[in-house]
Structures are given as C-alpha cells and as structure tokens.
C-alpha cells in the first residue's frame, strides 16, 4: 500500500544569524501493507508527524520517495495528485482546531466530496448523513456548529470527513491525545472496528505506547528523524532490541506506587536536530554505547531473524 524510501525532510532555519537545517526526517524507509496498521512512536520532535504530513504533500520533501499504491507522491503531476488526495486522508490531534468554526458540520464533512466529486444537493446530504452514521452521530448534528459539539464528537466528525472519499490509507496524527481518557477509549475502539469493517490501512502516529499496542499490528520507533526499530507490535513490546526502545518502554510508569523497573533511564535531553551527533544519533544517551564505534559510524539498519529491523551496532554482526 505505502512505501517510503529513504525519505528526507529538512527545514531551513536561522539560528543566531546563521543558516542551518533541521533534519526532521533523515533517511526513513518504511512500508505498510494493505489492511495493516503501523504505529509510529517517538518523543515529540522525533519527526513522526512530519512523515505523516509528507505523505499528504503538506511538507516539501528534501530527498527520497513516497509511493502510494506504486504511485510516487513526491513527483506527482496534476491528475496523479487528484488520485492521491482521494486515497490518503488525515485526522489531526486537536479536533477543536480541525474544524472550521464558521462552517456547520454538514459543510465540513461535505467539503472533500464537493471538491473531488460531482455529488451535490440531496445526494450530498444523504452521503454526509451516512458518513455521520458510520461514526455514530445522528443526523441532528448536520446543522450544528463545531462549538456546540464535545471533543469526542468533533473527532468523530473529523473521522467522518476523512472517510468521505473512501480513502484506503488514513494517517492518524495523535487522534486521541487531546481527548479525555474515557473518550479516548471510545474513539480507539471505534477506529479498530472501522479498520476491520472497511479494510483500511492506518498510519497511527502517537507518543502513547499503550494506544499503539492496542491498535497497531506493526510498530516503528523513531528517534531524531530515523527509525531505530521496526517490527511486529508484540515483538517490539515484549522483547525490545534497540537500547532506545528499551528505555522508551521502561519510561512508562508502573501502575502500583513504589514499584520500579531497572534504573537505567535515558541520560540527558534529546540532542538538537540542528546539530546532530556524529555516528549513531542515540549514542549520547545510550547506556550500551561502544566508544570508538557508536560515536563515529552511523549504524545501518539490520534485519533480524524474526523480521524486525534495528539500527544499532549491537546487532551488526
């Protein structure tokens, strides 16, 4: 369904009067099969949202390629662009800012249909009503404005809007992070059901490991614009290989007070994506870093026997 090959997204910035680049995404390769849901985890600033936005052509791509059903997203012409826009849709983190406050729900959900199809009038209204029904909202919401809806309801509207063109890929950019915990569970349950019923492919971006574990069958862990570990969700969670994945999983607090896991939490802060560390980008905070190797040579991705890929010198041989 989706193949990402050596994707690079760099942003030019000015720092103390000097030009520099932020390497938000720095050589990411990924592929998602039809019907899969891939979870993209990482700290904020690791570049996970940038990947999602690049798939929808919201960012300029510096290098590499993204292919959706074999069609290049990066070098798409006008007609191809039209098809791509119909096949991939995005749902954002904050439903409060994702709907135009001046438009009633009907118009917001109808917008993609009006733009990309010839459906109008009564038929359009019927389609929107159907879409709202899929996300569990009655037709009484058609003429409401966003401010009259709760956060969960708004997020449902956003999902309905994303489904309007019957896309095959949904990019879900932290779709539950801004919601109350009870509403989160509802939306997650719904997303899971939706995927089963409509045979959708998900790219699920989140920093919440529990959410990823619940929704996704594959997981990719990002650190400073690179994927450090990628594999089946159960394997990644039960037996993490990359040192970063290990600390990430250990950072999740345990439910009982006083309990604690091993103590080797990460050292220091995330390095700036402007001045990236040499060698492996994680070596500055890694407990298992090997001097003379990790700080000099960037590790290539290594395929493990269980189908996982890990970027770490520990597994190079």
């Amino acid at each position: 369904m989706l193949e990402i090959e050596d994707l690079k997204v760099h942003f030019p910035i000015r720092e103390k009067w000097q030009k520099a680049t932020v390497k938000a995404v720095n050589g990411v390769s990924l592929s998602i099969a039809t019907g899969d849901s891939l979870g993209l985890v990482g700290e904020s600033g690791s570049g996970k949202s940038t990947i999602g936005r690049a798939i929808l052509r919201l960012n300029k791509v510096t290098g590499g390629d993204i292919r959706l059903k074999g069609m290049s997203v990066v070098n798409a012409g006008r007609t191809e662009e039209e098809m791509l826009r119909r096949q991939a849709q995005i749902v954002f983190q904050d439903p409060h800012s994702a709907l135009n406050p001046r438009m009633p729900i009907l118009r917001s959900v109808a917008e993609p249909l009006v733009l990309h199809t010839k459906v109008r009038g009564v038929e359009l209204r019927r389609r929107v009503t159907d879409l709202l029904e899929i996300v569990g909202l009655q037709s009484q919401f058609l003429y409401r404005y966003p401010h009259e809806l709760s956060g969960g309801q708004k997020q449902r509207v956003c999902i309905a809007r994303a489904l309007a063109l019957q896309p095959e890929l949904l990019v879900l950019d932290e779709p539950t992070s801004a919601l109350d915990v009870s509403v989160q569970a509802q939306i997650l349950e719904f997303l899971k059901k939706l995927q089963r019923e409509q045979n959708l492919t998900y790219l699920f971006i989140s920093h919440n490991l529990a959410v990823i574990r619940y929704i996704c069958n594959r997981t990719a862990v990002m650190y400073l614009g690179q994927i450090v570990e990628e594999g089946a969700t159960e394997q990644v969670f039960s037996a993490p290989r990359h040192p970063y994945t290990k600390v990430l999983l250990e950072a999740v607090p345990l439910p009982e007070a006083g309990q604690s896991r091993r103590t080797d939490v990460v050292i220091g802060d995330v390095p700036s994506p402007v001045n990236m560390p040499t060698g492996c980008s994680f070596h500055t905070r890694c407990a298992e870093a090997m001097a003379g190797r990790c700080d000099k040579v960037a590790p290539p991705p290594v395929a493990l026997a269980d189908g996982r890929r890990v970027r770490c010198h520990l597994f190079a041989d």
Binding site: L56, L58, N100, L115
Partner: protein, 336 residues
C-alpha cells in the same frame, strides 16, 4: 437575535443618558464665564446678567440639566451664545463634511490595512513582512496633526499634487445636496469634475486621520491571520488540495476578520475624536473644526452638542459591529 438587538438598543439608550450627564457636568464645572465672554470685554455687569438670564445660566445646575435634556429629546441643542444661531442648524451644516472625512478614512484603513495584514502574515519573515511591521509600529506612534502637517509640507507645498486644505476650491460651488456628501452628490449629479476636486481635497486629511487605524488594523489582522493559518482545518484544507488563494481568502480571512472587525469599530470612534485635530490642520469645515472654534470662546451649547453627537456616532458604530459580529460568528449568535 431579536432579543439581542433589543437588549443592545436599551443599553445604548442608557449609555446616551450617561454621556449627556458627563458632558453637561464637565462643561458646567469648567472654569470660565460664557456670558462674560459673549458680552465682550467692555460689557457692563447688567449686560452680562441679562445674557446669563437669557440663556438660563442663572438657574441651579440640576434644573439647567433637566431643561437641557428636555430640549435634546426634542432635537433642540440650544443656541450658540456667541452667534445666536441654533446649534442644530450648525451641526446639520458641518456634520456631513466630518462624516465624509471619517468614512473615507475608515475605507482607506480597511482597504489598505486588511490586504497588507494578510500579505504580511502569508509572507511572514520576508522583507514585505518586515517593511509592513515597521510601518505599522510607527503608524501607531505618529501623532495625527504632525503627520497632517508633514503631508501638507510635502504633497501640497513641495509637490503641489494636492490642495493644502478645505473641502473644495474657493471658486467651486458645491453640488446640490442629496446626501450632503460632496463626493457622492457630485457623482449623482453627474458633475464629475467636482467629484475629482472633492477627492483631491479628501486625500491628505483622510490619510492623516486613518493612519493610526490603518496601523492597528494591519497589526491585528496579521496576528489573527498567523494564528488562523496554523489551525488544523487550514492544514486539512491544504491536504484536500484547495488552492492557497482560496484557503487564505475564503477560509482563513473569514475567521481572522472577527477581531479585526472589533478593532475597526473601536478605531472608528477614535477617528471621530481625531477629526478635531485633523480638521483644524486642514481647515476642513466639519464638526471638529466647529468644536475647536466654539471651545475657544467657551460656547457651551455647541461643545456639548458636538460631544453628544460624536459619542452617539461611536455607539452606533459599535452597535453595527456587534450585529455584524453576531451574524458572522456562530458562537456569538447563540449566547447573547
């Protein structure tokens, strides 16, 4: 919506009454004896007393106030103690000129300010943005009368592009009144040469009067546009492939216009006050100039009338903005 209008109207009546009290108290507590001034330096004590009686200035203040309010309610703002003319007649004569000037200024400020604010936001951190920002910061700080003088020096005296002051050339007859606005009337009467002349007279005063408003409209609009453009529904519109021009114009600007609109209402009021300065500099025959001339001679009735009139215009402007606001913003519509 009807209830909203009703409440707002009632509120306005209350404000108007408060305005009457304040202007009355201030003008009657202020030092200076209008009767003595009107009578002239050589007048005898009896003469001053006669004038005082004639205008009811010998009665106690509360009674004077009641008489005054009674008159205002009947559309009578009293007589000028100096010229003896009915104040209402003077206002009818001078107000259209002020209204024309303020209208031109606010149009100037909106038509120039909104696009510049949008441009500045869309081209954030480019040279266009920097120039606009310097312009808008300095605009808030420049005093109107100084700007007026500078414009006169440069464009009227140095370059001779525009006339120095006045509303029309001395020799030109104003068009026969329909709306009492010279530019509009001359168009309606088909006297386009007079229109052109009226416009040439309008440019410099309107520019000086609009400058602070223009600057603040640019600033508010830029800030609002920047915030709106960062919203996810804009990103989603981009993901749908809607052209940038439509996104900026149709999606972002509509949402960003609301605070700008409030600012326009506020600035309209400031402009009314500013006419006093600008009309004096440009010798513009409006109520501002009238207010200055009457104030110099402590002529109470006209000053109070001008204050009440300008205050009333300010209230009406904000009333209109409130209505437009409710009409544009679904969030306001439901609550008030």
């Amino acid at each position: 919506m009807l209830l909203f209008l009703l409440r707002r109207s009632l509120f306005m009546v209350g404000m108007l009454f408060a305005l009457l009290i304040i202007t009355f108290v201030i003008s009657h507590v202020a030092p200076g004896d209008p009767a003595a001034l009107a009578a002239g330096p050589d007048a005898s004590a009896e003469m001053i007393e006669t004038i005082r009686k004639e205008h009811g200035l010998d009665k106690p203040l509360p009674q004077q106030f009641l008489i005054y309010v009674g008159g205002v309610l009947q559309g009578d703002f009293g007589n000028s103690i100096h010229t003896g003319r009915e104040v209402v007649d003077d206002l009818v004569r001078f107000f259209p000129a002020t209204f024309e000037l303020v209208l031109a200024s606010i149009l100037f400020a909106i038509l120039l300010g909104v696009p510049l604010g949008v441009l500045s936001a869309v081209k954030q951190n480019t040279w266009i943005d920097h120039v606009t920002r310097v312009f808008s910061v300095s605009g808030v700080g420049v005093p109107m009368f100084w700007l007026g003088l500078m414009l006169q020096l440069f464009f009227a005296l140095q370059l001779g592009w525009f006339p120095l002051g006045g509303q029309l050339d001395m020799m030109t007859d104003p068009p026969a009144p329909i709306t009492h606005l010279y530019t509009v009337d001359s168009i309606l009467r088909g006297q386009f040469d007079v229109t052109l002349e009226a416009l040439r007279h309008l440019v410099l005063p309107a520019l000086s009067l609009c400058f602070p408003a223009l600057a603040s409209i640019i600033r508010v609009n830029r800030a609002e546009m920047l915030e709106t453009l960062n919203q996810d529904y804009i990103t989603n519109a981009r993901a749908q492939g809607i052209s940038p021009l439509r996104i900026v114009g149709l999606y972002a600007l509509k949402n960003a216009m609301l605070p700008t609109l409030a600012m326009i209402g506020l600035r309209f009021g400031w402009m009314l006050g500013g006419t006093v300065l600008v009309e004096t500099v440009f010798d513009w025959p409006g109520v501002g100039l009238y207010a200055v001339q009457t104030a110099v001679s402590s002529d109470f009735e006209p000053i109070m009338a001008v204050t009440v009139l300008l205050g009333f215009c300010f209230m009406v402007a904000n009333f209109v903005i409130d209505i437009v606001y409710g009409w544009l913003d679904p969030r306001v519509r439901g609550t008030t």
